[in-house]
Amino acid sequence: MIGSPNWFQRRKYSGWGVSPKTWEGWVYIGVAIAIGLLIQFLPIGTEQTKTLITMGLVAVIIIDVVHIMANIPMDERDRIHEAIAERNALWAILFALCGGISWQAVTSVLNKNMEVDPVIIAALVVGLLAKALTNIYLDKKN
């Protein structure tokens, strides 16, 4: 891939993703932004073409960042801290999602219509599947 995991560190206090750790990481971000701006300002076709190229650039960056995040060097203490922090974040998100679904269910009943956001339900189902598959994998591996 393009970026090296050694140039970045995982975000701990400001959401998910990575932040630059070395000057190479900052150059990586600068070049990505510069390419994005270049695409917008160069006379290389219609707005639609520019949008498609920008989407392609964003897709490449997302795939590269996921690769970086999956390979950032972490020692055992980092892994434990990440696991605990991500578990707590998950519980907070679950609480918010279930609260949202419950609220929508109650208002649906009171308004005598069925208006529950399918995106929230999909998020809960996807999370459930991710957890189940991870546990199946870990049970087989260990």
Binding site: D75, E76, R77, D78
Partner: protein, 64 residues
């Protein structure tokens, strides 16, 4: 779990960064170990024992 990592490390003239590099962990982990804020895994305890030139884990780590 208490340990004598800091004392042995200083006796050998090894920096925290050197010890971290030899044991494959970050300097922050070495600091947490020396301040008794983190208990290492068995593998890490063995790595530290070897890096500090000791023969057994008990020479460095003490159960409460």
């Amino acid at each position: 779990m208490k340990n004598t990592i800091a004392q042995i490390r200083k006796t050998l003239g090894i920096t925290q960064e050197d010890l971290a590099a030899k044991t494959g962990v970050t300097r922050q982990t070495i600091i947490a170990l020396e301040q008794n804020r983190y208990n290492p895994s068995l593998g890490l305890a063995y790595s530290i024992t070897t890096a500090l030139k000791k023969h057994s884990i008990e020479e460095i780590f003490e159960l409460p």
